[in-house]
Amino acid sequence: MEEIARSSILGGLGLVIGIIILVYRLNNKGGTKSDQRANQYGYALLIWAIFLLLSFIPKSTSLISIATNVALIACTPLLLLPSLLSALIACFGRVKLSYYIGKLGFFYFGRNPTAGGLLRGYQAAKTLKNVEHQREALLWLRSRYQKHTGKIYSGEMVMYIIIDALLTKPNDDEYLAQRLNLLDGIGQSSIPRGVSVLACKLALIPALSRGDWDAINDIAEQWNTPASNGIAKYLKEFYGRYVKYSHVFSKFDCWFWSLVIFRNKDIMKLSRDTIDKLKERENSFEPEASFIESLWINNNKKMSEVEKKNQLESLLANHVIDKWKNRASTIGVLQIDNAWDAIERSVHQHPQFKIDHDCIEDDEQYERKQSLQKNLRYLEGSIQRKLSEKLPGSGFEHYMDWLKVLNILHELKTHKHEQLLAFSIVHNVLWNWAADLWNNKKERCLVHFIATVCAPLALECNFKEMHKILSGITRGEFK
């Protein structure tokens, strides 16, 4: 009995010491990524060796001794797979413990151990029964990340957005989805599967509740990461095969991915309902759909100038004007010409026909645009100052700066002309900043994200050299 007790105490002590050392090392890492990973491997093997050794110390052949040995050996896989261990701990709502152990899951989370820690912390916080405790847990997770001094990777960017959005606007699914939409363009290869699946599900909520398949497909495309994300793959295949009737997408692929997510009955029900509805619509198809209906059908399609002109002529043709003026007098409109003018204005304001420089904007829109441009200039100055003073800054700080710039560019997206103008204002600073991040700070993941967003804008602004280099980065031509 003494032997068993001694071995158990030693085994437990070895485990605790090993984990403390490992967490301490990861929190104070200063070397490059390969050094960091070597440390992780080395320490994990060390702990495993100690644990394994200690478990074999009791030599007695008694039943209790054998049972203890078996139990200790059974625990070793958990030690070797901290991601699994942290997932188990997260089920019990231990936020801090699951965060720290999650950070050790380098097999599962790859070069994103911090994202893994944040994911496990989030999962643990989700199981808490009290809203205030959940809020405290999220605040703690955010504070951990704000103190993170290492390089930043895609998984961490995603987890930060999720935690921050949940704290900023709790229960606002639209806001969370919009924030995740900002991340369109981040490097996907380093997003761990768990993070990708979580982000995809959160971004899908508003689109699923609206039953908007175009939006569902866009989100599925965004989160169809190399780390297998079953839900994104299934929705993408389903949309391609059934909603768009594309023969490029095979029935088998759709069926295969449906097996992966078959447990989600609501998605399967939505799919079945959609197929039924599409069949109904196909049977009652009217070949001569009205022009207004065709605008709904071609909602996201970019029309050519000729198509636009034809469509506009059809919507505002003379017989159409007569028809609607008659209708106006029937329903008792007093100023018929004014009523028709309102209709004509609305047609010109339709996104398909609107021309940026011609669009009429109200005072509120104008002020908002002015404020965005002012903020952009302020940001430009701030980044320029940091560059000229050669301030080191952590990956997280640079990411925060980039998110602010990205947010402004995104808000101006509806006014293409304004967006390009804003980009041309900041492109020099962005260019120098990206070069500094790439060459000196080695923030490859963040620069990849910046390049993906900025390359098309640089092309539209005719900044050829900038476009060439940024496109090279997105294609992986530079190492």
Partner: protein, 114 residues
């Protein structure tokens, strides 16, 4: 009114969709529909808070219903709504899309404990 309805003229027919009416609706139809839908929402009839548009579903409340009625009573606003009217796709099937809260539970991402 939701910003989506004001930002794009394609949604100008929203008062008809909210009150589940067509452009041939009379003043009596508008009154009746307003009363019925408001009563359904007040009594908590399942799915009464949803209405169909040509691309999916949106939620409505008593305020939006009052606004829709006001638009349809005003002949100029009604003419604009009639011009842009397109039949919503899901008028008969209101059960295929679930509310966000159900989807959150279904996908296992409901966060804030109640």
């Amino acid at each position: 009114m939701t910003p989506e309805f004001t930002s794009n003229p394609q949604f100008s027919a929203w008062p008809f969709w909210v009150l589940e009416l067509t452009p041939d609706a009379t003043g009596i139809d508008i009154e009746k529909s307003t009363r019925d839908i408001t009563a359904k929402i007040t009594l908590g009839v399942p799915n009464a808070e949803f209405f169909a548009i040509p691309q999916g579903k949106r939620t409505r409340d008593a305020f939006l219903i009052r606004e829709a009625k006001a638009k349809l009573i005003d002949p100029t606003a009604r003419l604009l709504a009639e011009y842009w009217y397109v039949k919503p796709l899901e008028t008969t099937d209101t059960e295929s899309s679930l509310p966000a809260s159900t989807w959150k539970k279904s996908l296992g991402v409901a966060f804030w404990a109640d």
